[in-house]
């Protein structure tokens, strides 16, 4: 038998070029958007554009009281003043203009708040996962305390105590949502910390910063980005509900949530005034969800499960 082996071994060296090692895994999937995902991107892009140029293309200022009447129907015009594509609200203001101005408030504030929530949540979460022990214990218990309070109640409490201003709104939303970001970041961090490549970096003698920024964060980035989209939606709804309760953005500044509340009584007169800002909230949040769906489909279905 050894003769056979010897003979074929020399032969096999010549064969080497012909029989290369075969790839044993399919190539990695690239992010591919479905048509719903593309629709989501288009809608989000539209609103981002409105955040930037909204006030310039709006026919009126958000605080201008220019209509002939409150709750004017869409596609009517006021003498000498102009055309109201979406009608007017309870204070005879142009709804289209207020929706466009409001994009800056609602989308802008939500985005900043989510960003801040991520900064705090991911930093603390990854720190807890990497340091373990007491650091993890203290951070997690503080976080549990925040998580145990109902979000809207906590929000109301802070805003009532500190007064309603834009920086306080952003800060409140950021703190409240940082606690759930912390949970996810910590869970991902812990999962990555037990991987051999992290242990190998530790065995090499790398600093904790290298491990956080080079080994852990790049691998947590994709799932965290997906979660960012979802969290942004929650913050939009949170700010809108605060505004709806009258504690969010203060008049006369326009924001979608307060617009729904202020015009709610128009429903009695058959006015569509509260529908337009509600549609704006819905379109923005659903569009983000459509994008998130595509990203999580790429990363495998388990990602979506983990985030719930």
């Amino acid at each position: 038998m050894s003769d056979v082996t010897q003979a074929s071994e020399t032969e096999s060296d010549q064969e080497k070029t012909i029989y290369d090692e075969l790839p044993d895994a399919p190539p990695k999937k690239k992010l591919k958007l479905t048509w719903t995902g593309k629709l989501g991107v288009a809608v989000v892009a539209f609103w981002v554009l409105m955040v930037i140029i909204g006030p310039w293309i709006a026919p009126f200022h958000e605080a201008d009281i220019i209509g002939d009447d409150s709750y004017m129907a869409p596609l009517t015009s006021t003498d000498g003043e102009g055309f109201h594509l979406l009608g007017t609200d309870y204070l005879e203001r142009d709804i289209l203009s207020r929706v466009l101005w409001g994009a800056r408030m609602t989308v802008g504030i939500s985005f900043l708040a989510t960003l801040l929530a991520y900064l705090m949540g991911v930093t603390a979460g990854i720190a807890a996962a990497v340091k373990r022990g007491w650091t993890d214990m203290i951070l997690s218990r503080i976080n549990d305390a925040i998580l145990s309070l109902p979000t809207i109640m906590l929000g109301l409490l802070i805003v009532v105590a500190l007064g309603s201003s834009i920086p306080i709104l952003i800060g409140t939303a950021a703190i409240i949502y940082a606690s759930s970001v912390y949970r996810i970041a910590r869970a991902y961090g812990q999962e990555i910390m037990v991987m051999d490549y992290v242990e190998s970096a530790q065995a090499r003698g790398e600093t904790i910063w290298w491990i956080i920024f080079r080994e852990v964060l790049p691998n947590a980035a994709m799932p965290l980005a997906t979660d960012f989209g979802l969290r942004l939606v929650f913050v939009v709804l949170f700010i809108s509900s605060l505004s709806f309760l009258g504690l969010g953005i203060q008049p006369p500044a326009a924001d979608w949530g307060s617009m729904v509340r202020q015009n709610l009584e128009g429903m009695q007169y058959g006015s569509l005034a509260p529908v337009w800002p509600a549609l704006a909230i819905a379109s923005f949040t659903i569009a983000i969800n459509l994008i998130v769906d595509d990203i999580s489909a790429k990363s495998g279905g388990d990602l979506a499960k983990k985030m719930i």
Binding site: S8, S12, E15, R204, N219
Partner: protein
């Protein structure tokens, strides 16, 4: 219509991102007669698993069948509607996946899972299925068949679970059984136990089978007919006898060359005299280690006990033993990943701190650990160039252009193209990733590389290439290796010295040619006999050997007193071996065997004719390892 099962010009393909179709299986045809075992053999990526799933008209998401037929009893299953396909699966065609541990649901009893398919398809009532399952447990030689069904998967051993999977597949009496690499992940000793049971049950049941594997030596034991695949195409097919004894195709010959030789003295290459050294590079002294809190120098769970190992300069020390014997723990203790509870690790005459956090950068650099699974050992978000470049920069301070040159040099050293530096690990094959994994350890310019089962997850051809590479690396760089494996023939062909670990103790240790020649420690003997040979009938022959009778039926048990191998040893002396720690004997200089039997007794037993020796009586069901599951 005479054929039970037939695959005719089967094609399986997927579409790439840009829409171009890629064929994975390119027109494969073969037949399976009733009662026949057909083996599909090829390395990973050859499409053998994909074909085996097509037998149930199933393919992984993204794949589709552009052409061909899969006929069971003359009826094309690919053309059936999904309802009919469903009634086929687990009923007429049963599939046995590679990993039993991943197949069984840990929260449901074994009996419920084994009988599920038959009851679900309505072919049997629960009672009938239970009776049938018990008959199968008995046929598969599983312990305590009447009560086995009430246990949970974690309460039985890995080999038993693998056999239970066969029971699960056979319970509804399928016409065709598909076995996908059912023994690849197992220890050699467990592999024999499982192979023997599979072969017996297939013969008794008379069902046809498709056996998928990359290991020709295993195929030679079970198959009637062999189909050799490469890259989705059949290279050669024929009766087992012809393929094994008279292979025609060059690729088959290549597969034959990759079959592991029987471990024997002189199988390895001689150490280059320039590296002949008596100076120990790393020394482990009286080391005890384990997991859990340490009380009085004793961990909660002791994995290693009083270990003494010397690794000489530029030598390769093979560490061998079954899973659970503490091989990986030994390497982790040396690397400082797991601080020892007691004892010393000495590097170049200087005692090292137990925990790597307290070791200096130079000490860390000298000892490099190579992980078993390249998939988890390489950061998927870093380019190969960065993975290799970082240790170069970190330890040697090369930056920019110099660093790139060093990376290119390393890639050439491990025989990979230099362009790989701008690829991600996921774009490489399993063997290529393992090369990068080793190159990363080399990048630190170490004195000792600790390789933990680096070839175990690779198929035979790739693994033999990796071993060839390791030999070259040792000759070029003079690095010493600690090479951990459960595969004695791989260790034997590469190592200069062998340490045989059993249940956390060194039972035999010495130069490779001494360890692989008589006198053997009874455990070493068992390991040597368990390496499959590329010879039809080897399985039957080896089962005749006396060490197999007790050795195969039982698993590793960690004991506090006596010789740990007592319960599996054909030469065990009751009252001595189970009570007293075995003395260490030195039959040759530097060759140590821990055994109560004298060297003469061991050698005499070696040459004695087949007989039931003392110890065999202990194989009665009561003392069985399953009993401890209660």
């Amino acid at each position: 219509m005479s054929e039970l099962f037939e695959i005719d010009n089967l094609q399986i393909a997927f579409r790439k991102e840009d829409g171009t179709p890629v064929q994975i299986v390119k027109g494969v045809s073969f037949k399976v007669k009733a009662g026949q075992v057909v083996a599909l053999i090829g390395e990973s990526g050859s499409g053998k698993s994909t074909i085996s799933m097509a037998t149930m008209a199933y393919c992984r998401p993204g794949l589709h069948f552009p052409g061909g037929e899969v006929r069971l009893h003359g009826k094309d299953v690919l053309a059936m509607d999904p309802q009919d396909q469903r009634s086929l699966r687990g009923n007429k065609v049963a599939y046995l996946a590679q990993s039993a541990a991943a197949t069984f649901n840990p929260a449901i009893t074994i009996g419920e899972q084994v009988t599920e398919a038959a009851v679900l398809h309505g072919t049997m009532t629960q009672k009938e299925a239970d009776r049938r399952a018990i008959a199968l447990y008995t046929a598969l030689e599983l312990p305590d068949p009447d009560r086995l069904g009430r246990r949970y998967p974690h309460q039985v051993s890995g080999g038993q679970l693998q056999r239970l999977m066969a029971a699960m597949a056979l319970v509804s009496g399928p016409d065709l059984l598909v076995l996908d690499e059912p023994t690849t992940a197992l220890d050699v000793t467990t592999q024999i136990e499982v192979l023997k049971a599979f072969k017996k049950v297939i013969q008794e049941e008379g069902s046809a089978a498709i056996y998928v594997t990359h290991d020709l030596a295993v195929v030679a034991q079970v198959a009637d007919h062999i189909v050799v695949l490469y890259s989705g195409e059949i290279q050669e097919q024929g009766p087992t006898d012809q393929i094994i004894n008279n292979p025609k195709h060059p690729y088959t010959k290549r597969l034959m060359a990759a079959v592991k030789p029987t471990p024997k003295a002189g199988m390895g290459e001689d150490l280059d005299s320039k590296y002949d050294s008596k100076v120990p590079n790393v020394e482990v002294k009286n080391m005890t280690a384990g997991y859990g809190g340490i009380v009085n120098g004793k961990p909660a769970i002791t994995v290693l006990r009083d270990i003494n190992v010397k690794i000489k300069n530029s030598h390769v020390v093979g560490v061998i033993g079954e899973s659970g014997c503490g091989k990986s723990t030994l390497a982790r203790v040396i690397a400082g990943l797991l601080p020892a509870a007691k004892g010393e690790v000495i590097l170049d005459g200087k005692q090292l701190q137990a925990d790597l956090k307290h070791r200096s950068k130079e000490e860390l650099q000298k000892l490099q650990f190579v992980y078993q699974m390249a998939d988890t050992a390489l950061n998927p978000r870093q380019l190969i160039g960065d993975i290799l470049g970082r240790p170069i920069e970190f330890y040697q301070g090369f930056k920019g252009k110099e660093r790139r040159e060093k990376v290119a040099e390393l890639l050439r050293l491990v025989e990979l193209p230099v362009e790989f530096e701008s690829r991600y690990p996921s774009e490489l094959s399993g063997g290529q990733k393992q090369r990068v994994n080793m190159a990363r350890a080399l990048a630190a310019n170490p004195e000792v590389m600790l390789c933990d089962e680096v070839t175990s997850a690779l198929d035979s051809i790739v693994s033999s290439n990796v071993i060839k590479l390791l030999k070259k690396l040792r000759d070029k760089t003079g690095v010493s290796f600690v090479f951990i494996s459960h595969d004695l023939s791989t260790v034997g062909s590469f190592a200069d010295e062998i340490v045989v670990l059993y249940a956390g103790r060194v039972v035999e240790q010495g130069p490779v040619d001494e360890v692989l020649a008589p006198p053997y420690h009874p455990y070493t003997r068992l390991l040597i006999s368990s390496v499959p040979e590329l010879r039809i009938g080897w399985l039957e022959d080896t089962m005749q050997k006396r060490e197999m009778a007790v050795g195969i039926a039982r698993g590793v048990e960690i004991t506090d007193v006596g010789c740990p191998f007592y319960n599996r040893c054909p030469q065990a002396i009751e009252g001595t071996c189970n009570l007293e720690t075995a003395p260490t004997q030195e039959p040759h200089p530097d060759h140590f065997i821990s055994c109560h039997r004298s060297m003469e007794e061991i050698t005499a037993a070696e040459n004695a004719p087949q007989q039931v020796l003392h110890g065999f009586e202990k194989a009665a069901p009561e003392g069985d390892k399953a009993a401890k599951a209660h």
